[in-house]
């Protein structure tokens, strides 16, 4: 079950400050890296709420993000709608898509759930890949960024865009954290731990899981809107299942079921990718080794492990206070 502990708040703020500094004091390239981190972090938070809290390991989160990106791009660039309504429609499309996938897959678990979500994700990918109107595998450009000049922000400036991205990351985290603490989120954790007992308590667990997927689609959609506005161009690559796989790596690397972990995981993965690829083409192998080590070391992930040590340390000092977040659900 989720608790917004002090350690989590401090880590979140530290991560955001680190990213802001990295973007402010770095080059244009550094800002590109930070935006890449932001997109991956939001996607990973969205996946963490499904996988870490709901036990639903999805391989269609890339598609959920991509549907929002395409929805936004089609409405704004192809049909000439204003940007904000287009973004809302993109988000709505992601919620509907995710909710549908969630509804159909809500009675499956484990490997069957993974395979079913993989199939739905690849269906969405193929749909955009095959569409001539949408440029097929090349995708299409002509996308614009939000015009925020009335509040004095030039979104085409890379630093301003990065800051806006950081604000959206904070909002995505905050919203997910609030929902995970609510009756809805805690019940989702309960379904993960013991679905049968939850049914016996009168909860329609299938509908609950579908709603969780829909909410997850909203968060993933935020990442999609940023991704489309970042490169001003979209292609089906966003939806391909390896995008979902990368998000899953990030969640596991950072700490499943912690919400903060995915942000740490995204920072680590993207920085490692860029630093190591300076020296060798085999950076994937290195990340693979790190992931294997993470899993063998207890599977708590980097942030999860730190939290585990921290809780052990504090529980020695004060064994009678309130519970800290546990690392399971």
């Amino acid at each position: 079950m989720f608790y917004q502990t002090k350690l989590r708040s401090i880590t979140l703020i530290a991560a955001l400050i680190f990213l802001a500094c990295y973007a402010s004091f770095g080059s244009y390239f550094a800002r590109e890296i930070v935006v890449e981190i932001i997109i991956l972090a939001i996607l990973a938070i969205s996946l963490d709420l499904c996988a870490g809290f709901g036990g639903m390991v999805s391989l269609c989160h890339g598609a959920m993000m991509g549907v929002a990106a395409y929805g936004f791009a089609i409405m704004s660039a192809k049909l000439g709608w204003p940007l904000f309504p287009s973004a809302l429609i993109g988000l709505f499309a992601a919620v509907v898509f995710s909710g549908l996938v969630g509804w159909v897959t809500s009675r499956t678990n484990g490997i069957f759930f993974i395979m079913a979500t993989l199939a739905f994700g690849q269906m969405a990918y193929t749909f955009f890949f095959k569409s001539r109107w949408l440029g097929g595998d090349d995708g299409f450009g002509g996308i614009s960024r939000f015009d925020l000049s009335m509040i004095g922000l030039e979104t085409n400036d890379s630093l301003v865009f990065t800051y806006i991205g950081l604000v959206i990351l904070l909002l995505a985290y905050g919203l997910t954290a609030i929902v995970m603490r609510s009756g809805f989120g805690r019940t989702l954790s309960g379904i993960h731990v013991n679905e049968d007992r939850m049914k016996a308590l009168g909860i329609n667990t299938a509908a609950h899981r579908a709603k969780a997927m829909a909410f997850s689609g909203f968060i993933a959609g935020l990442a999609g809107i940023i991704a489309a506005q970042h490169t001003l161009y979209i292609s089906p690559e966003l939806l391909i299942w390896t995008t979902s796989g990368e998000a899953l790596i990030v969640v596991i690397l950072g700490g499943l079921g912690t919400l903060v972990g995915p942000i740490i995981g995204a920072i680590l993965l993207v920085l490692m990718k860029h630093e190591i690829s300076n020296y060798t083409d085999y950076w994937h192998a290195f990340i693979g080794l790190v992931l294997i080590f993470t899993v063998l070391a207890g599977g708590r992930g980097v942030f999860g492990q730190i939290e585990y040590w921290f809780n052990k340390l504090t529980q020695k000092h004060q064994s009678t206070t309130k519970p800290h977040g546990d690392d399971h659900a």
Binding site: M1, I178, V179, R181, S182, G183, F184, G185, R186, T187, S189, G190, V193, N194, D196, R197, M198, K199, A200, L201, G202, I203, N204, T205, H208, K211, F215, K322, P323, D326, H328, A329
Partner: protein, 252 residues
């Protein structure tokens, strides 16, 4: 006015050729404590499955508080007020006892779908947790993780989860299964203190407890009702002694 909380009419259940429940009829009045007795394989737990909706009957009708519920699934029956505690612990193992009760209370109070308010801060949920913890004697163990709690505490929580939904009808499947004599006393007290607006069906093997709390006892054997009566009548009944209590004192 409804005079029966639970009405079962010629209920049958067979698995392939095996008839587990055969033409069973029951009538339980509101607030009654009904003990179900019977040797292993008599169909007691199957009866609970049929009442809770986790198994579909082959035949027959079930009415809760006058309402036909045979076609409803387990979730809907739970919402109508049937709660169940299990013979084998069926808990939220990785969560604390407080969190377990919180989930049940949130479900019962219709707050499982609230998306924004922190569940642990709802006054009515907190109040319900405290009430139930007191009823099942777990006030001091609330922050313990279930997986590390003692077996007895876990049995208490098993009943607590069912009670937290404030059921009309509580189905208790061997609440004292596997616990020691001290714990059985504790369950005895727990049962005696349950409010009378809850109707209780108990499967129980501890005879002192069963005869102590029962208003009426129904004895099953091979899926059929072979006897029904007060504890005193049950003790004196020859058939019951024969099939269940045996001739010696070595019953389970």
């Amino acid at each position: 006015m409804v005079t029966t909380m639970l009405e079962v009419k010629s209920l049958s259940k067979d698995f392939g050729g095996l008839q587990v429940i055969h033409d069973l009829s029951l009538s339980v009045t509101p607030g009654e404590r009904r003990v179900i007795l019977g040797p292993n394989g008599a169909g007691k737990t199957t009866l609970f499955h049929l009442l809770a909706g986790t198994l579909k009957p082959s035949n027959g009708e079930i009415f809760l508080d006058g309402q036909p519920i045979s076609t409803y699934d387990a979730v809907k029956r739970a919402r109508l007020g049937i709660a169940r505690s299990y013979q084998k612990n069926n808990l939220f193992e990785t969560l604390t006892i407080r969190e377990n009760l919180m989930l049940a209370a949130a479900a019962a109070l219709g707050k499982s779908t609230h998306m924004f308010k922190d569940t642990s801060k709802h006054a009515d949920i907190r109040q319900r947790i405290d009430e139930i913890a007191e009823q099942v004697f777990l006030e001091d163990q609330l922050d313990q993780t279930v997986a590390t709690a003692s077996y007895g505490n876990r049995r208490q929580l098993e009943v607590g989860l069912a009670l937290a939904t404030r059921p009309k009808l509580l189905l208790m499947d061997e609440p004292t299964s596997g616990v020691g004599p001290n714990m059985i006393d504790r369950f005895h007290r727990l049962l005696e203190q349950l409010p009378r607006d809850i109707t209780v069906l108990i499967i129980e093997h501890d005879m002192d407890l069963a005869f102590g709390v029962a208003d009426l006892i129904t004895v099953l054997n091979f899926g059929e009702k072979v006897f029904e009566g007060t504890p005193t009548d049950t003790r004196g009944n020859a058939t019951v002694r024969d099939i269940y209590l045996g001739t010696g004192g070595d019953h389970a």
